[in-house]
Assembly symmetry: C2
Homo-oligomer: 528 residues x 2
Amino acid sequence: MRRWNGWGHAAVGYPLPDTTAAVLAERVGPGTTPRDATLPEVMASVPPSRLPPHPLVSTEPEVRVRHARGQSFPDLIVMRDGHVPAFPDGVAFPNQSEEVRALFAYARDAGARIIPYGGGTSVVGHVNVEPGDAPILTVSLERLQQLHALSEEDRLATFGAGVSGPRLEEQLRARGYTLGHFPQSFEQSTLGGWIVTRSRGQQSLGYGRIENLFAGGRLEAPAGTLVLPTFPASATGPDVREFVLGSEGRMGILTEATVRISPLPEREDFLALFFPDWERARTAVRELAQSGAPLSMLRLSTPEETAINLALAGHPRMVGLLSGVLSLRGIGPDSCMLVLGLSGSARNVEHGRRMALDLAGRHGGVRVPALGEKWKKGRFRSPYLRNAAWERGWGVDTVETATSWSNVPRLLAAVEGALREALADRGERVLAFTHLSHVYPSGSNLYTTFIFRLGAEAAETHARWLALKTAASRAMVAHGGTISHQHGVGTDHRPYLEAEKGPLGVAAIRQMLGTFDPTGLLNPGKLV
Amino acid sequence: MRRWNGWGHAAVGYPLPDTTAAVLAERVGPGTTPRDATLPEVMASVPPSRLPPHPLVSTEPEVRVRHARGQSFPDLIVMRDGHVPAFPDGVAFPNQSEEVRALFAYARDAGARIIPYGGGTSVVGHVNVEPGDAPILTVSLERLQQLHALSEEDRLATFGAGVSGPRLEEQLRARGYTLGHFPQSFEQSTLGGWIVTRSRGQQSLGYGRIENLFAGGRLEAPAGTLVLPTFPASATGPDVREFVLGSEGRMGILTEATVRISPLPEREDFLALFFPDWERARTAVRELAQSGAPLSMLRLSTPEETAINLALAGHPRMVGLLSGVLSLRGIGPDSCMLVLGLSGSARNVEHGRRMALDLAGRHGGVRVPALGEKWKKGRFRSPYLRNAAWERGWGVDTVETATSWSNVPRLLAAVEGALREALADRGERVLAFTHLSHVYPSGSNLYTTFIFRLGAEAAETHARWLALKTAASRAMVAHGGTISHQHGVGTDHRPYLEAEKGPLGVAAIRQMLGTFDPTGLLNPGKLV
């Protein structure tokens, strides 16, 4: 069963070691744990549904609570505190495309608006219910999980768009294939959600971003059905597939998606390397991204993040040993950790590994055994740490952006600096540290984690978070970063969209969406 | 100087060898050469301009003749025959973005429409002037050829969008870089034209299609200026860059484009291999495309095209020798020729070469020395052969599509069959043969050449061509092919667009374009 007021499976937890808590207390101050509302308390606050009965629609309070919000930090505040401003009036569970169309008609007749819902893992407000006069029908795609077709010759597989990451990979693995798409939300996010929010997987460097993996599909829109053919490429004007990517539930509901699959890797390696300093590490990673070496992942932590990760790991003896080994190789306190992934045919992995280790070695990189595999084991664990930190009184959130290589240092300094200063007027310290996890020949993303103390009240915690989020977002806009490389727009990034796309760009997106949803039935207030 | 009524430089010609002419005469019947109109004759037919004078606008008859049409087969018929139905009323040569904006105002005041013009190499009618009441101003971008910026660290270069292929590569080569984009029209086509028609280069397998190379830029539209940032990737909703790609002059005029560049290859190999039959050859090429081997090109001819290319090469002795050598290796009359390209670092080229030769060998592929280099030397020559064939009385044109691997045999048979039968009721034979030149893990393009006899009159030649084009296009729509993988839509593919995109897709493109050009100032009658 999913946790109703935080990330992940309710049965899975990673309590914060005392040594880690001590580090956080030292860096940002001691935390105070707020009182959590209980599920029965929140269920008791659910108002009567404004929707008429429908066989596909549940109006049970627990179902409505569980579909009210996503996984953003403000969502966490609200669900922990229990004062949820609005719930969906009902949640529908269609079994097929025709039922989605029927739900459009039902919602229209009821004067309702529709929020499409995949895994509910949005961290920017995509699935949130806002208070308003119109009833809200959330449409969950959790019954559309089936593998409909798989062609080995064409390397294409067609799924119901509500399929979750694990269910998708399980069905492909049984046939000897993988999609190779592993965002950190993998355990709960869905194929359709990945597509309409332009998701990136941890191994996108090798397997491609969702833009590359999404070949075509079926979208049910209020204005009709759109069937996207799965040509390998086409020059017939603007690509309508690209209209769907990033449409964030404003265009229609994707019910089926065909994706480009790969055989299960013959070999998969994750190597950990340490570099003497940030400058050399960043140069090595840029050159690796530009080398044409067949790598599946490059994930580089700044010296700050490397030090904090080691401190937070909570094994002082192991860290001491590692530092000793590294210092013998000339790598001191400014060391940067790189996790490098390789995945595919044994021959390509071996070739890529040799190219990468040679290149890294030229920049002072030293390989440390076992740590790469350790990273792999914990690859979906980070989101759980947010629960653990909350329970000790700290807030953990992330912001992310992307820019050209030459602008990485300036943007990194601006975003981290903005976060560290954002609560100064409140007398609060903020811990901020960054890694690059998605690199390209022309640039990189920047993924910054920030940690701060929760307030005594939900309102104060929200005010702190908003100050932090606003400061980081403004720094991105002012210093040449995109407002999102991998989380999407939703509600939280919407105020910054026009600065990036320009008024004409935003107007064009709005016009395009209006063709599919002329009356604004879908996902009001999100994206544009 | 460019040829005014056919492809290429006027000083460059490749006359048809008599042996080749004998093959064509045998396969489709003897040709009859129609009389060509002269340039002075056509200039004399140019009507007075309906545009008021403007310092940037030329109304000279020769300039208007030279910008009246592109390079489609119907364009060739019209220019050779000399009865050109319409000319631009003037041709403007802006030097900068601001002048493009000024020309929008000028055209609006004059009640004129604008046709953006890059290299004039469209083969589907993109730049054609159609007769009508409104004056036509063609806007040539030939003065926007400059390299504005190049970042080695970011591997990005910004050019005036009117830069031609050779000028672009020359400016990059001086700095040690290449774009790696070599469509067959390379000698005359332009960067802006590549972008707005979704061009594919011969080595797109390695360097990427123009979609991958175009990072951002500046578009002047009637509704305002659109500046596309050059982030390496972004998740901020639908990608407006993708709206520009394939917009075919209907959205605005691209004045600057930033592209992703690569270092000049340390090593570049083109290998020729022969396979015993089509089935084995196609399987080998599919497996190569799916292998992850770092290749820059795979170009596979069917047995029919292989035999005809050898026959048309016009060296019977050399062909006899080659056949003898191949038959010793078990490769007989059904042989298929593959040209395989590798380009990049010496290490990647060596790795890709080994992987490819091993895989090809497992499917009976045999390498023949020298032929790959010979292909490279003649890589931009094919379009010239159209002039040469015309002069001996034959028409040569091509159609192209793409589909999934499993559908390649069916679509290939349908397109070739449709072409071969298209003139049967006229008692004319048609020669049709195909290669795959752009392959993907999920499928391939099909590029089919067809040769037929010219009619005694231009109208008869056009009727024959139209019957052929219509038959091939209908076969694509009916048998699961895109209506264009690399030539675009223009006027010639427009009747088939809705079958591919669906009514909602076409409506959405129209709405999106309308945001940028609300009054339909630009390129009337093209794309949608």
